[in-house]
Every structure is written in structure tokens, then in C-alpha cells.
């Protein structure tokens, strides 16, 4: 089991001068501490127009700064929206290669297609098309990274032969992941030999079924990349404190605030009936789980909120379900003071992480 941190970069109103800088500075401080403490990954989303919820529209810039200020933590650029109106495919190949160089080969690339009308409508994207364009682009990316000259005639985009530069530092290329929110997307990931970057919890039981499916299907995959990235990652909240009562009170405030912010957005499915969006995406699932059954503390099962023992048990449950990595959301519109966020990371690293060091889950080794 490996642990990472995951940023939406949410910014509270009122948006007075300096508030966004303060939030970005806080996030950077968290990344630097996570690097020192031995966390494995930092991921930052790509979102547009999602007021308060996420002011992370240029994650490649934030993550490049992270790479420059850290030594060993891997840099998760994800998800990159693989829809040409958001990101021309060549630009995705160019900027990820540059990030890989600057980070010294520490880049992972998460791919997806956006799940809100707020964003899709903002870029005039037809929601019926996004799954197809995502599929087309993830099949192109490895060739753009590895072929000296590249040209393409496709359905959603085309280009004449050119030399796409620079090339990634990692050889053959950085690991590729798929954001898994809609039901069945873990199958898409497995069929393409890509890592499953879970952005919803589901119940632990549901997760076990998904994990089994994923590992079964990936054995016969047709990888889009030059290697198979057989790994399963999920997302969770983290607030860890020795005082259980304090941990639960603060942690519940964290996930309550996050869920409230998420629910104000307009999911693609709510506004635009389409077979392409069978679920509401990340946000409702997070809501559902975060308000689902839990123990006497009121914290839902599997949520990493509580004293170190409770957080340890939650992580062990995910590990036993076959999850290789957990990425933690640490804050929402600064509802947790920065010093407490940092202390929570330290507490987790001191009391929980040692229980997983040296363990090597079969799939956690990554590529094959």
C-alpha cells in the first residue's frame, strides 16, 4: 500500500486579493511536507469554472512547481481532460513530457473526460462525444511520446506529420491512469492496460468486486501504452489526530464542507440526458459514502478520519479489498487550519505509515 495526497485546490469566498495565493502556498507547503514524510504521490486535478470547489485550472503549472521543490514524491497530473476543446492532444504530449523532464522522471499521467455541465458547457463540448475523444487521445499519447515523427488522421482530431518535442524522461514513457467514476470505467482501464485511478469510494464490498474484475480483464488487455500499468488507486479524506474526539469533529467538518461544495455544481447527467454519463460522477459518490453508515463516531466506514488506530484500520480495510494506493484529500476551502493539516500528515506518517512499510502488495509493483 502506498499513500498520496490529492488536491482540488478549493478557495473560500470572499475572493479578496491574496486568498488564492494563500491557498496555493498552503498546498505547496503540504506537498513539501508530504515529500519529507515519505508520501508517494501528489495528484492535482484539472477543473475549470468550479467556483470555490476547485481553482485548479492549470495543474501542470502547480505540479511543475511541486516537482521543482521536492526530491522524491511522484507527480500525478490528473486527471488531464482528454477532450480537444479543453486540451489539444499535442499540447498534452508536450507539456507532460516537459513535466517528466523537470521532475526527473517522476510523472504519472491520469486521463479523463470531465463530468460536469459547468465545465463541458463552458467549453461547448457535446457530452455524447467525450468518452470517444478520451479513448482516441489515450491511444495517441504513447505514440506521440515515443515516435520521432508523428502524424494522425482521426475522428475527433488530426495533424500532419511533425516532430513532437520534448520526449519524456522516463522510458518508454510515464505510467498512464484512467479516472474511474462511472460504473464500468474500471473495465475500460483494464482493457487498455491502464491504472485505475478511483475517484469514488463505492462501498468496500463494491470495491472488492471492481478490483477482481480489473485484475481479471487486464490479463488479456490490449495496452494503449508500451507497458501495462496494473495498479488500483482510490481517494479518501484524511484527518488524523491523537485525540479521537477532536479528529472526528474536524474530519466531519472537512468532508461535510467538501460534499456541500461538490453538490452545488451541475453534473453533466443532471442537465444533459445522455448514455455517455450513466452516473453523476465523482461528487455524488463521495457524498453518498461520506453520509453512509459508519461507527459510533458518525464517520462512515473506510474514511480515514479519527485517531491513528482508526485511520490504520480504515487503510487496512482498503488494502484487504485489493487497493494498491490511497490518495488523501486534506482540506476543503481551508476549513481545517493549515497547521492542523500539517500536523495530521505528521501524525499519519508517524503512527500509520510504518505499518505499511516493507509490505509489497503484488500489484503495487506497477508495470509488467
Amino acid at each position: 500500500m502506498k499513500f498520496g495526497i490529492f488536491f482540488e485546490i478549493s478557495v473560500p469566498r470572499p475572493w479578496h486579493h491574496g486568498v488564492e495565493k494563500q491557498v496555493y502556498d498552503n498546498c505547496m507547503e503540504q506537498v513539501m511536507l508530504a515529500d519529507e514524510l515519505g508520501f508517494d504521490h501528489v495528484w492535482a486535478v484539472e477543473h475549470h469554472f468550479l467556483e470555490e470547489y476547485s481553482h485548479c485550472s492549470a495543474p501542470e503549472i502547480f505540479l511543475t512547481a511541486c516537482a521543482a521543490k521536492t526530491k522524491r514524491i511522484r507527480i500525478g497530473h490528473g486527471i488531464v481532460v482528454c477532450v480537444p476543446q479543453f486540451n489539444p492532444p499535442v499540447k498534452i504530449a508536450e507539456r507532460t513530457a516537459t513535466m517528466d523532464i523537470i521532475s526527473g522522471g517522476r510523472l504519472d499521467v491520469g486521463t479523463g473526460r470531465s463530468a460536469t455541465w459547468t465545465e463541458l458547457g463552458g467549453f461547448n463540448v457535446n457530452p455524447d462525444e467525450t468518452k470517444k475523444t478520451w479513448d482516441e487521445i489515450v491511444h495517441c499519447l504513447p505514440d506521440m511520446w515515443t515516435q520521432e515523427r508523428y502524424g494522425y488522421q482521426g475522428r475527433s482530431w488530426s495533424m500532419p506529420v511533425r516532430t513532437i518535442l520534448p520526449k519524456p524522461y522516463q522510458k518508454p514513457h510515464p505510467p498512464l491512469w484512467v479516472a474511474v467514476t462511472s460504473p464500468g470505467t474500471e473495465i475500460d482501464a483494464a482493457e487498455r492496460g491502464m491504472g485505475s485511478l478511483g475517484l469514488t469510494f463505492g462501498t468496500i464490498k463494491e470495491q472488492e468486486i471492481k478490483v477482481a474484475n480489473y485484475h481479471k480483464i487486464i490479463r488479456n488487455c490490449e495496452p494503449v501504452g508500451k507497458f501495462v500499468n496494473e495498479q488500483i488507486s482510490t481517494v479518501n479524506f484524511l484527518y488524523c489526530h491523537e485525540d479521537s474526539e477532536k479528529a472526528v469533529k474536524t474530519g466531519r467538518r472537512l468532508f461535510g464542507t467538501f460534499n456541500f461544495l461538490a453538490s452545488q455544481l451541475l453534473a453533466a447527467r443532471e442537465a444533459y440526458p445522455s448514455k455517455s454519463y450513466p452516473s453523476l460522477g465523482l461528487l455524488p459518490s463521495l457524498r453518498r459514502e461520506a453520509s453512509g453508515p459508519g461507527d459510533a463516531s458518525g464517520v462512515p466506514e473506510g474514511i480515514a478520519i479519527g485517531d491513528p488506530e482508526r485511520v490504520l484500520q480504515a487503510c487496512k480495510r482498503w488494502e484487504s479489498a485489493g487497493v494498491d494506493r490511497i490518495n488523501f484529500l486534506l482540506n476543503a476551502i481551508e476549513t481545517v487550519p493549515q497547521e492542523e493539516v500539517l500536523q495530521s500528515l505528521r501524525t499519519f506518517a508517524k503512527y500509520v505509515m510504518p505499518h505499511f512499510q516493507g509490505e509489497q502488495h503484488a500489484a503495487a509493483a506497477g508495470g509488467r
Binding site: R13, T118, Q264, L266, P273, K275
Partner: protein
């Protein structure tokens, strides 16, 4: 920092448009094979706040839903109604605040108002289903106040459509208090389609928006469905002036 809340003056709005509801304990009613034409349209964000009750939050971005329902079978006989709604959030739940409804059957209008709080007035509502388009239209005193059409009909599954529960501002005859009544119907779909929306006419003033706060921006989508609709027992009511997290009261258990 408190989140954005609506700014609607519920008392002034209620004095003009709210209907009387006869208590909150009503039996469910089924509308077999009802036709539902539904348009989602982005509207101006800041202005939409003035059409959102203070208990609720605007969606991001703000949008309006315009619906025409044709019910061929009901205990009150066949009827057609049209309504204009502003999408909101009651805490974390998506809800449509209904501005006004117009129904072509006076008995149905009375039943829907008295039992579920629909802000309903008698008017001439129609749905016309053609092979090339589906049209919804509402006329009041000879003036067209709503006209919309769906072209390029394309089949979906009923699972692809998500309707949002209504919130009706109604005055309870038992205590005289203005309340937001939540109506969350169940749907069993027989047919579902999506098409290209065209909104020809939306007369703001006729729908209660004489100050022009419902300012249309980008069209989003239009759908048409045939479904059995069950109007359920009322489960929740909300104080229009209090944050829905704190101001919502449970009336009945879910069936």
C-alpha cells in the same frame, strides 16, 4: 464564509403566486403514460439569485427548467400543464423551485394545488407530438406565454433522464404559514428521447418575473419521455426563510 443563498422575497412572492395547500398529508396519485417535455436552459447567475428562496443555494451555473406535462389519464380526467422552474440546491440536494404552473383542467389545477402545493393557475397548456418535432405551448388570455420545440429526436433509455424534485411555495390552510413543499415523484419510463431545443417564447412577466431576473443564456438540452408518474405523499417541507439544512421538517416516511 457562508455560501451563496437565494435572495427571493418569499412573502411578497407567496402573496402573489402561492396557492393554498390543505395540510401535508395526502395520498399518492398515479398519472399513467404521461408525456413529459423538459427543457434545461442556462440563465444569468447573479439575477437567478432573486428567483431562489433564501433557504436554498443557486446551482453552478444557474439554469431554468421549463416543463410541459400531458396526462391522458387521471382521476380528474386528462389534463396538460406547463411550469417554469429555477434549479437550486436545498443543502446538498438538487431541487427545482417552481415559479408558476398553468393547467388546462380546472379540477386538476385545484387538486394539484390543494394536495401538493403546485402554484397552479388555469391556463391553456398543450403538447403536440409530431414525427419531426414535439411542441409545448402555454397560452393565457389569448397570449402565448410559452412556446418551445424539440427537433432531431434521438432515442435514449429512461435511465438516462434525471428529473429534479420540485419545491412549491404554498400556504398551509391549517396554520396559514408559507412553506416550501418538496414533491419528488417516481417515474417508470416507457420511452425517452433527447433532441435539439428551441425556445420561441418565454414571457417572463406571465411567469411571475416582472423584473426580468430570469435572463436566458445558453440552451442545454431538451428531452421527451412517456412515463407513469406517481405523485407521492409529501415527505419534507422547508421554511423558505431558513437554511434548508436547519429549516427542513420531515412530514412522512418514504413509501
Amino acid at each position: 464564509m457562508p455560501p451563496r443563498f437565494g435572495k427571493l422575497d418569499s412573502k411578497a412572492w407567496g402573496d402573489k403566486y402561492a396557492r393554498e395547500i390543505h395540510g401535508f398529508h395526502t395520498e399518492p396519485m398515479e398519472l399513467k403514460k404521461a408525456h413529459i417535455l423538459n427543457l434545461n436552459h442556462e440563465i444569468d447567475d447573479d439575477l437567478a439569485d432573486f428567483l431562489t428562496p433564501k433557504a436554498m443555494h443557486p446551482s453552478i451555473p444557474a439554469y431554468a427548467t421549463v416543463t410541459v406535462v400531458s396526462a391522458p389519464e387521471s382521476p380528474m380526467g386528462p389534463f396538460v400543464y406547463g411550469e417554469v422552474k429555477v434549479a437550486c440546491r436545498a443543502g446538498v440536494r438538487p431541487r427545482d423551485f417552481v415559479l408558476r404552473s398553468f393547467c388546462n383542467n380546472p379540477e386538476a389545477a385545484r387538486e394539484l394545488s390543494q394536495r401538493w402545493g403546485y402554484p397552479m393557475t388555469v391556463g391553456d397548456a398543450k403538447m403536440i407530438v409530431r414525427h419531426d418535432r414535439i411542441q409545448g405551448k402555454v397560452t393565457l388570455e389569448g397570449l402565448v406565454i410559452l412556446e418551445m420545440e424539440m427537433f432531431d429526436r434521438d432515442f435514449l433509455s429512461g435511465n438516462d433522464i434525471q428529473y429534479i424534485a420540485n419545491m412549491h411555495l404554498a400556504r398551509n390552510t391549517e396554520d396559514g404559514v408559507l412553506t416550501l413543499v418538496q414533491i419528488d415523484p417516481d417515474y417508470v419510463f416507457h420511452r425517452a428521447e433527447r433532441g435539439r431545443p428551441i425556445l420561441h417564447v418565454l414571457d417572463n412577466a406571465a411567469w411571475g418575473d416582472s423584473e426580468g431576473h430570469l435572463k436566458l443564456r445558453n440552451p442545454i438540452s431538451m428531452s421527451y419521455a412517456i412515463a407513469d408518474i406517481e405523485l407521492p405523499a409529501i415527505r419534507y417541507v422547508t421554511d423558505p426563510e431558513r437554511d434548508a439544512f436547519r429549516g427542513t421538517t420531515k412530514v412522512a416516511k418514504a413509501a
